[in-house]
Every structure is written in structure tokens, then in C-alpha cells.
Amino acid sequence: MSTPAAIEVSNLGKVYDAVEAVKNLSLSVQHGEIFGLLGPNGAGKSTTLRILITTLSPTTGTATILGHDVVKEADTVRRLIGYVPQERAIDRFLTGREHLQLLADLYHLTKQEALTRIDTLLKLVGLEEHADRVAKGYSGGMKRKLDIACGLLPNPKILFLDEPTLGLDVQSRLNIWEHIRQLKQQGITIVMTTNYLDEADQLCDRIAIIDRGEIRAMGSPKDLKASLGGDGIWLTLSDATPEALEQLTTALQSLPFVRGIRPRENGLDIRVDGPEKALPAIMETTNTVPGCRLDGIEYHRPRLDDVFVAHTGRSLKDEPPAPAEG
């Protein structure tokens, strides 16, 4: 590659109390993209994020941010990145502006720089009216906006977000997504963790699916879905004998747009190209096979959840929602 990647992670591992939270993880994030770490709680995505923001050191492997090692050059890395932690990390006794003033001093800005930058940021996230109120009274959405302003205060090249919309209502969620897209347009590279499929799907250019400390799949949501082998058509059949099913499978396989057939409970899962033609043809074929009575037919585009299931063997949606990740 001609330009080095924004983030380069190789063979990263982290062991906590004899538990391998992250195993042999490698990935690279390109300049200007939104990269998502998708996985259930406890999958290792927050651990990975903490290593990248230098607050946790890896047990094995290396990670570099814009060419700087996160362990050996931690201080340099810290000057290049912004971090947006989960919502609880707000001091409820400080006002929004005081949060930003504190960080301005920690990033060693001069008084004048701090003043102008804080005003710009408060305007950007739309928090000017509430800037001088103590954060105790902020709503979840307002806290998130403050968090993002805090993350942007150092003018970072790379912004790390930990579960940016966890626990937010729909409207605030869409707002935050909009902010994140705008940041991307300004050329900021964004790395975020999420356990929301739709968030990863709609917001991220590329995602890494992490489960039990390992990357199970990586790519753009579109490619990942396409790798499942086309759109899915689920047939539900009543009382089909195994012989009838086999006969039907053979018949369907001869259709030009069918790419694969897998059995599922009471029926078949057929992967096709171009559902418009496939649907009527499949119905017709099914009716010609004796002993196969069509009970239902369901068409769906591959969802990220299917990708998740295909790579981890379980659904992300089955996970009980938990407020925080350990």
C-alpha cells in the first residue's frame, strides 16, 4: 500500500486474570473511514479500544496509530486522538463548559485557543444553551453531545467512540449518527465499538465482527452480506417426505439463478440472484414436485445479523441487553 494505514494492529492479545480477552487480533483502519468493532458484550471490543487509546497495554502484539506505537509512544498517540467514552463518564457536578475547559488544560491549550475552540464545539454539537448548566440535569442525548465535544476538543486525527448510542432514544441516536457522518466528511478517521447491528450497517464503512476475543469476519457491511451468497428465500413446506425434499432440491438446483440450497426446519433456505425472477420460478417448481405442499414463502435480503450468525453460530439479537461492558 502506498500510504500507511491510519491504524495498524497486528497479533494483538490481552490476558486478564488468565482469561484471554483479545486473541491474536490483526486489522488495519484506512484514513478517513468509519471502522466499527461489532460484537456482543464481553467480546473484547472495548478491550481492543482501550489498548488503542493507550489506557491499557497489550499482553502480546503491537498497535500503531498514524505510525506511532501505542505503548512506546503513548504520549504522542494521546496527542493525536480523541476519545468518547460511554455516557457514564461525565462529572455531574461540572457544567458542560467546565468539562471542556478541564480537557483544554489537559491538552495544554492556551486560554485564547481554549475559549475559541470551546465556543466552536458547543455550537457544533448544539449545546450552547446548556453549556453553563451542571451536567447532573442533562438528558442522555445531551450527555452524548458533550461527550462528542470532549472527544473533538484536541482536534483529533482519529476519534474513538465507545458505544456511541448505547441507551439513547431513536431521535438522539439519529442525531449522533448525523454528527458522526459530518466528522467523516471533515476527514476524521473514526473507530467505534457497537453492539447494534443497524448502527454498524448504516454508519460504518467497514466492520470487524468480534466474538470471544477474535475477529470472525471483516469487510464492508455490503461485502459481508454478499459473501453469504445472495438474497435468501425461505420455503416452508408441510409434511414433505425426505424423498420429496430431495427431489425438490434437485429440481431447484437446475434453475439458473439459484446459488445454493440449505435445509432448514420444515423447509429450505435458497440463496438466489435477482429475487424478481426467482420467486415465481421457485413457486412453480415446488408445485410440480409431488408431495411438496407449499405452506409459506419468505424473502429477505441478507442482514448483518445473518452474517453474524454465519460467523459466530449465534444471533447478536439473542444477547440480553446489558447497560455496560466489562
Binding site: R50, I53, T54, T55, L56, S57, D75, R78, R79, I81, Y83, P85, Q86, R88, A89, I90, D91, F93, L94, E98, Q101, L102, L103, D105, L106, Y107, H108, V134, C150, P154
Partner: protein, 259 residues
């Protein structure tokens, strides 16, 4: 160094702001020791105590040194609490992701706890003065009392911060804190002179650094320089050893926690 000063000042400023916005907490922090111990306890036991035993003009003047050091103890042991909450809600992580010297957070905490403790000591001595107790060694003696208090406070705050960084939950922290503070007071010369204690308590109190600090502060208040100076000398030696030990342990716990 300039950068670190900016960091420490900003962080200390945050502690001050937090305290000033927790009005009740501030009020009780400041008033509790003198109200509870000095005024109530001191007056209550005035006639129940034997002047021969306490070797002081009255019990209040005997107790003043104990209350001063108790305040240092309580402030010091509670000195890590805010960091504990910062650790638990992720604010500490936010701070650690910024390009600050790792030690700045710790330094800001020392600075804050010492400033509050210093003010409280002055208030306690002021209240004692209202009840007729004035330091025999004057302003210089009071300055020395402040220095002794700070030195003891540094070690205690280190213990508290080390605990804050090491414990798994804040429940553990407060259990240990509750368990430590009262025995430290009873097993010291705060309320009763060592000589008047049962032998086994005397033996335990002998190994309590608090005893040594109180025994140095007390003559500064009730006796005078000639009796105080040797005690102050011993206390300084004890405190330097105590602080070295606590700082070493604290630094280890901190390194383990934040790298």
C-alpha cells in the same frame, strides 16, 4: 514542567468545584470533627477525666491534639474516594487518554486533600481557642502542627488512593475504610494517654503512627517548646518512614492500575 503545572491546577480546580457544589458534604466535612469530637466529646468528658492522668490543664486541651490528627486521618483515608468513583464511571479513563503526566492526577489529589486538611486544622485550633485552649508554642507551633499534619496526611492519602486503584468494588473500599478508622483512633493516644491504657492496647497503640504524631502535636499545644521538640523529632522520623512506605505501595498500586 509548565505543562504539568497546567494539568495539576486544572485537575485540582475540578476537586474544588466538586466540593463547592456539594454544599452539604462540604459543611459536614468541615464541621463534623470539631462539633462531634472537640465540642461534644471534649465537654462531655471534661469532669469524667482525671487531670492527673491526662497531664493537661483540662480534657479539652488534651483532646485538641487528638482531634487535629483524627481530622488528618479521616481526610487522608477518604482522600481516594473521588478517584474511586472516577475509576468506576470511566472518568479516569477519559483523563488517562489525554497527554497528561500520569502523576498529575495523583498530585492534584494530594494538593486538594492537604489544602482542605490544613484549613480544617486551623478551624479546629480556632474553635479550641474559643474554649480557652491556645497553643503554648504560638504561631510557629501552629505552623509545625500543620507540617506534621500534612506529612501524616500524605501517607494516609497514598493508602487511600492505593486502595481506590486496587479494590474490585467500592463496597470493599468503604468496608476497609470503616474497619480502619475507628480502631486507629481508639488504639492511639487521641482520647487517652498511652500510660493510662491497658497493657495490650498500649502495645498496639505503640505501633500506630498516629500515636507518635499526636504525642508531638500535644506538647506543642499544651506544654511548650522544650517538651515538644524531642517529640517532634521522633514524629518526623516516624512520618518519613511511614510516608516512604505508603508512597511506595501507592505508586505500585497506581502503576498496576493505569500502567
Amino acid at each position: 514542567m509548565n505543562e504539568q503545572m497546567q494539568e495539576v491546577l486544572a485537575l485540582t480546580n475540578r476537586w474544588v468545584k466538586r466540593l463547592s457544589r456539594e454544599k452539604f458534604s462540604m459543611l459536614f466535612t468541615l464541621i463534623q470533627p470539631m462539633l462531634f469530637w472537640l465540642i461534644f466529646f471534649g465537654n462531655l468528658f471534661q469532669r469524667a477525666t482525671d487531670i492527673q492522668v491526662v497531664q493537661a490543664p483540662n480534657y479539652m486541651s488534651f483532646l485538641a491534639a487528638g482531634v487535629v490528627v483524627m481530622t488528618v486521618l479521616n481526610n487522608g483515608l477518604a482522600g481516594g474516594v473521588d478517584l474511586l468513583f472516577d475509576k468506576e464511571n470511566g472518568f479516569l479513563e477519559r483523563l488517562m487518554a489525554t497527554p497528561i503526566k500520569r502523576s498529575s492526577v495523583i498530585l492534584s489529589r494530594f494538593l486538594f486533600v492537604m489544602a482542605i486538611t490544613g484549613m480544617q486544622i486551623l478551624v479546629i485550633l480556632g474553635v479550641a481557642f474559643l474554649f480557652g485552649v491556645s497553643a503554648e508554642t504560638g504561631i510557629l507551633g501552629i505552623a509545625l502542627i500543620l507540617i506534621l499534619g500534612m506529612l501524616f496526611g500524605i501517607g494516609l492519602t497514598s493508602i487511600s488512593m492505593a486502595m481506590a486503584f486496587s479494590v474490585k468494588s467500592h463496597g470493599d473500599f468503604f468496608s476497609v475504610l470503616g474497619f480502619l478508622s475507628l480502631p486507629m483512633i481508639f488504639l492511639s493516644s487521641a482520647l487517652v494517654p498511652l500510660a493510662a491504657m491497658p497493657g495490650w492496647m498500649q502495645a498496639l497503640a505503640f505501633f500506630n503512627p498516629m500515636t507518635w504524631v499526636i504525642d508531638a502535636v500535644r506538647p506543642l499545644i499544651i506544654s511548650g517548646w522544650s517538651q515538644a521538640l524531642p517529640q517532634v523529632g521522633i514524629a518526623l522520623v516516624v512520618l518519613i518512614a511511614f510516608d516512604a512506605l505508603c508512597l511506595y505501595g501507592g505508586a505500585k498500586a497506581f502503576k498496576r492500575s493505569v500502567g
